[in-house]
């Protein structure tokens, strides 16, 4: 009986090893058959600006007026502001939307953490001669906006947190990063980031019930930034960090800056309750955006622009 068990155990072990080897081979084969990343300049026409050795991609609307700086969230290229940007420009603002690496089309050069993003925003403003902007952060970008407010409140006109509570959360334990081994990680990364199904599902959730139809063009908008060289490696580095953000006490320390928190009423990526809580911590008005989900700037651009105008005045 015991011998039988041991024999089965051995067979199982051998089978598992064989499966592992086959998967590794298949992954390596898949990695070889699919292409790696391409330089951002080949995927995005620009504009770009070099800041502290990194080539940063951005969009802009409007040529004069008080400046507004828009920051996207996790995996969001500056293109997500294509509806809000022109509205704000028409209202008399110079509007910039910046890709914070490793998202959008900025060069993949780490570190990819909150301190680096706050530095990049500051460097971007310096490089383009932007003074006293309103900094708007969507989702993960909200934490960067709060970072600006904490570091240099007097250099800002105000901040807007959009569908982002700016709080730190979770993060995988350090050893998870070590598990993300090549060629497996690369294969998995490429499989997921080329999967229409995965993106379709994600976008449906992020848009909520009133989003646009998810066309092929819409899928490519979101998939293309993953083809920028170095993106897979960047995500591997970010994996153990969790969601970058601040503590309740940090939020309470924000002073001397006008703040508005705005939220899609149907957001089920980041809860409306979390938004209200953050608004209370910041002692800021809370703007509810009816009909909009997490990607509120694409579903309720007028409401989002009006919320930003409240701070930009």
């Amino acid at each position: 009986m015991k011998a039988g068990l041991r024999r089965w155990g051995k067979r199982l072990g051998i089978a598992l090893l064989a499966l592992l080897a086959a998967l590794t081979l298949a992954s390596a084969g898949y990695d070889a058959a699919t292409s790696g990343g391409r330089p951002a300049r080949e995927l995005y026409a620009g504009p770009f600006v070099r800041v502290d050795g990194r080539l940063l991609a951005y969009s802009r609307w409007g040529t004069n007026g008080p400046p507004i700086l828009l920051l996207g969230g996790f995996i969001e290229p500056s293109d997500v502001w294509r509806k809000v940007g022109p509205l704000l420009a028409r209202a008399g603002h110079r509007v910039y939307a910046l890709d914070l690496p490793p998202f959008g089309y900025s060069e993949r050069k780490g570190p990819y953490d909150l301190a680096a993003w706050v530095d990049e925003v500051e460097g971007f403003e310096r490089a383009l001669g932007i003074t006293r902007p309103v900094v708007v952060g969507h989702s993960l970008g909200a934490a960067t906006a709060v970072g600006e407010a904490l570091r240099r409140p007097h250099a800002l006109s105000g901040i807007v947190l959009l569908d982002g509570d700016a709080l730190r959360a979770g993060g995988a334990p350090g050893w998870v990063g070590h598990l993300a081994l090549d060629p497996w990680f690369t294969a998995l990364y490429r499989l997921l980031t080329r999967s229409d199904l995965v993106f379709r599902k994600g976008l449906h959730q992020a848009y909520g019930p009133n989003g646009p139809p998810i066309t092929g063009a819409e899928l490519r908008r979101w998939q293309l930034p993953f083809r920028v060289a170095g993106t897979a490696q960047a995500f591997k580095e970010m994996l153990p960090n969790g969601i970058a953000g601040w503590t309740d006490a940090d939020l309470r320390r924000v002073h001397g800056v006008r703040v508005v928190v705005a939220w899609g009423a149907l957001d089920d990526v980041d809860s409306v309750a979390a938004g209200r809580r953050t608004a209370r911590l910041l002692r800021a008005p809370f703007v509810l955006l009816p009909r909009a989900g997490h990607l509120s700037m694409l579903v309720a651009p007028r409401g989002v622009a009006a919320a930003i105008e409240r701070v930009a005045g």
């Binding site: 008005p285 809370f286 009816p290 009006a306 919320a307 409240r310």
Partner: protein
């Protein structure tokens, strides 16, 4: 002075307004109110130039969640009697009528929800009858005395003064929404005001706003303002983000003024009559506050 009583047929088939009328006799006049559901009472106080119809899509959500909704029509509005003399209407008379109703129904543990002119009236009732009131919900209103609320409001007052009995009530409400009104909704806002004389209450309100410190309403409204500065019970401030008559800075002022206040919660793409533009969001905000 005559008193106008709109015929019952005028209210027979209004959209989303299936409610039973309730009547309360006060000062020789018949006041109308809705009394729906059972549970902790919520008093919903309308303003200029609306009536209980304004709350029609909020009421069912409150009653479904186990609350009682009491919704008066001020004298001169809705199904309540309407003295046809503009000078009959005063700030004091509106507050007295509302207070008498709350006493007659012995409403306690109240949540008072106010909008527009319902603010000066309902908030004064609340601070003068604090033992009856647990919570305030403040929507697009103001209680500051001594100055005009905004340029847009001054234009509105001028327009009302100029047109007099020709005042187009439905059009006025529609102009205060972000999305406009369906024809039958606009007609429903007009239903209580079929004749020039029936509009006296609506014509009176703009001139009851104390735009100068010497105004007859000023002292009373200043007392409300002062009482709110020491209101420590919960208060929620909800506002239409696109309100041009009473812009959201008025919401900020309420939050700064009232120690117990939370918010403001601004509703995007909603104007002055946010109950029309965003009824679900307004109801949800009230219910969350009551939970």
């Amino acid at each position: 002075m005559e008193t106008v009583r709109a015929p019952d047929e005028a209210f027979a088939s209004l959209p989303d307004y299936p409610f039973e009328p309730h009547w309360f006799d006060h000062d020789g006049l018949r006041m109308h109110y809705l009394d729906e559901g059972a549970g902790d009472p919520v008093l919903l106080v309308h303003g200029e130039p609306t009536w209980s119809f304004l709350w029609r899509r909020i009421v069912p959500r409150l009653t479904a969640a186990g609350h009682r909704a009491v919704v008066p029509d001020h004298i001169g509005f809705g199904r309540s009697d309407k003295p046809d003399d503009v000078s009959w209407y005063t700030y004091d008379r509106h507050v007295t009528a509302l207070t008498a109703l709350a006493e007659a129904l012995d409403l306690r543990g109240l949540t008072v929800v106010v909008h527009d002119w319902g603010g000066p009236i309902g908030l004064r009732f609340a601070v003068e009858n604090e033992e009856r009131v647990e919570r305030l919900v403040i929507l697009d209103t103001g209680v500051a005395a001594g100055r005009a609320p905004s340029e847009t409001w001054l234009r509105f007052r001028d327009a009302v003064r100029n047109v007099g009995g020709g005042l187009d009530i439905g059009r006025l409400v529609a102009a205060g929404t972000a999305r406009g009104l369906a024809d039958e909704v606009r007609a429903a806002y007009d239903a209580p005001f079929p004749t020039p004389g029936s509009k006296a209450g609506a014509l009176a309100f703009p001139d009851l706003v104390p735009t100068e410190p010497e105004h007859p309403s000023a002292a009373a409204m200043t007392r409300v303002h002062e009482a709110l500065a020491s209101w420590h019970k919960p208060a929620l401030v909800v506002w239409g983000a696109d309100d041009a008559v009473l812009p959201p800075r008025f919401a900020d002022r309420f939050v700064e003024l009232i120690p117990g206040a939370t918010g403001p919660e601004l509703i995007a793409n909603a104007s002055h009559f946010l109950q029309e533009d965003a009824p679900d969001e307004v109801a949800a905000a009230i219910l969350r506050f009551l939970a």
